[in-house]
């Protein structure tokens, strides 16, 4: 936290090295978050790039009120949601799975640890209703508090907690073969 504030302070005064340090520190986490939020992974790197571009463009007036990671994670979540919304409008449900597979083949974003079980879990994540997936990804990969996720989802903390728990339950069911994909 203190390290982030120091990096920000230096970056605001023109230090490219400070920005690189911020990028190196969080780009991977943000890619993971975007990868877990999106149905397909091809847009994850674009989202990370957009978030960092907006971040550098706003640095003149940027004021950190919480943790930098939470801030970036919130931006990633907002952009992911927009991205998904756009795609939903653009394609039919029937074409969704086929397109997902096709774009994943082209994607340069992949699971860091490649195993059949994790691939299965990754697929199961995409089966969750978006709010549940978002609650899980932001909690586990974004380190956001339920209260912060609630603000983002414009819902009560209780609702977000329920979404998180329902999402985990559904994942367990899918992985145990209780839910047909």
């Amino acid at each position: 936290m203190l390290e982030d504030r120091l990096l920000l302070w230096k970056f605001k005064r023109g230090s490219r090295a400070a920005f690189r340090a911020i990028y190196e520190k969080y780009a991977g986490d943000m890619l993971t978050l975007a990868g877990n939020l999106l149905d397909d992974k091809v847009g994850a790197e674009d989202i990370v790039q957009d978030v960092f571009i907006k971040f550098v463009q706003s640095i003149g007036t940027f004021r950190l009120t919480g943790s930098l990671k939470s801030y970036l994670a919130t931006c990633v979540a907002n952009r992911s949601r927009d991205c998904i919304r756009r795609r939903i409008r653009q394609r039919t449900a029937m074409a969704k799975q086929a397109e997902k597979r096709a774009v994943e083949i082209k994607s340069t974003v992949h699971l860091a640890i490649c195993s059949e079980q994790l691939q299965e879990l990754s697929d199961a994540m995409t089966e969750l209703p978006y709010e549940q997936r978002e609650a899980i990804a932001l909690r586990i990969h974004g380190n956001l508090k339920f209260r912060q996720i609630a603000e983002l989802q414009n819902a009560s903390t209780k609702t977000v907690h329920s979404r998180y728990c329902y999402g985990l339950d559904k994942l367990r069911s899918i992985l145990n073969g209780e839910v047909r994909k």
Binding site: G28, N36, R63, V109, L175
Partner: protein
């Protein structure tokens, strides 16, 4: 251990990576954007202007006000005689302190002008001028302290006092509002701002910026010397407004904002216009009236003030026999559905698809939105039935 056994621990392992080349390319793009940003950061003043003006912060109240003005005034222009075509809706830009400006929609010849005057933040006067600017066709005065709206038709010497009920938020002092915008933007990188360079407007050098936010796009041209806006263009949903002729800190006579019925005017029965309490049923009713009364059983091409006014004008004969009071009542009823939609937020994901749908068609969706906190969407069909539909089951 299968992932299901310790699901949270397994999800933590769901980390994604990309190739070193991609990583370097993304970092390079970000650094390039940083270079460009630093080049464009020419002056602190210009920076503040764009930060202040870029994001459309026209409050929900202002949007509701626009609808009230356009819908009611639109109805008033219906009559058996050919009146000046009212084809535009108008809206004030900012609820500002002692600011006067003109608002026009779809710039061109013979376009009516709406003159907006702000007295403090609680009182606003709208004057709908004829295209030549020589006569005032409709005056609407708002007093947010008392939640009253007074509408005057100078030509007919009629006045209607309407109570605005359940206003959800009071407009803030415009300066406070601008400061709030700056503060918000400091922590909101999701509004993209694009500098447009300089150009001459009315003999002044203006700096331009364009902002793209979730609700639309706003372009601002501001005086490069004084930092005051000269021209603002806004695309908001289907509407396109241009605001010009700004005057700041002008002295405005108190009488311009009086809620007293002027001498010589006859007062029509008062009405009520609930704002925050408008419901989905109001939207359904507006759709029903629009299809039944105006479009002979078809739903409109789009759910916008512009389309509404156009449709009304094309079918003005249908309203020829209505009394003034009935027109006011009708305008208020139409307005409720518009206000309901105006108050929806971006996350409510409002979508209208009623073009070519006929009233009574139970299969075709007309519109949909997602209520706050709901997992499912509310979909209104052509027979005006409303169903809860999951995201994945939404009609295409």
């Amino acid at each position: 251990m299968r992932p299901a056994e310790n699901i949270e621990k397994s999800i933590k392992k769901l980390r994604y990576k990309t190739s070193a080349e991609t990583h370097d390319r993304v970092l390079g793009n970000v650094l390039q954007a940083l270079d460009e940003y630093e080049k464009q950061k020419t002056s602190a003043d210009a920076h503040d202007i764009r930060r202040t003006m870029m994001r459309s912060r026209i409050g929900k109240i202002a949007a509701a006000v626009l609808i009230i003005v356009s819908v009611i005034a639109g109805i008033h222009f219906l009559g058996p005689t050919e009146s000046v075509a009212w084809a535009d809706v108008v809206r004030p830009i900012l609820t500002a302190r002692t600011v006067v400006f003109n608002v026009i929609m779809n710039e061109g010849d013979n376009v009516p002008i709406n003159r907006v005057m702000n007295m403090g933040t609680q009182r606003v006067r709208n004057e709908l001028l004829s295209p030549d600017g020589n006569s005032v066709q409709v005056i609407v005065i708002f007093d947010y302290d008392t939640s009253l709206m007074l509408e005057l038709i100078p030509e007919k010497k009629t006045a209607v006092l309407i109570e605005l009920k359940d206003i959800p938020e009071k407009p803030e002092n415009v300066l406070e509002e601008m400061r709030n915008i700056i503060t918000e933007l400091q922590n909101d990188p999701d509004v993209s701002v694009e500098p447009l360079g300089e150009k001459e407007i009315d003999g002044r050098i203006a700096k331009g910026f364009r902002a793209n936010g979730p609700d639309g796009e706003m372009t601002v041209w501001a005086d490069s010397q004084t930092a005051l806006p000269i021209r603002m263009e806004q695309k908001w949903r289907q509407m396109h407004f241009v605001c010009t002729d700004f005057k700041f800190d002008v002295v405005l006579d108190e009488s311009l904002f009086s809620m007293e019925i002027p001498e010589g005017y006859s007062e029509l029965p008062s009405g009520e216009l609930p704002i925050a309490s408008t419901t989905e049923q109001d939207l359904v009713e507006t759709l029903r009236m629009w299809a039944e009364m105006i479009l002979d059983g078809a739903f409109p091409e789009d759910f916008s003030g512009q389309v509404y006014v156009d449709d009304v004008n094309k079918n003005r004969k249908k309203f020829a026999k209505l009394q003034q009071e009935q027109k006011v009542e009708l305008g208020l009823k139409f307005g409720r559905g518009f206000i309901f939609v105006q108050l929806l937020k971006a996350e409510n994901d409002w979508h209208y698809v009623g073009k070519n749908v006929k009233l009574g068609d139970s299969e075709s969706p007309v519109c949909r939105y997602r209520p706050e906190g709901s997992e499912t969407y509310r979909v209104i069909y052509g027979d005006l039935s409303v169903k809860d539909v999951a995201l994945e089951d939404l009609p295409q």
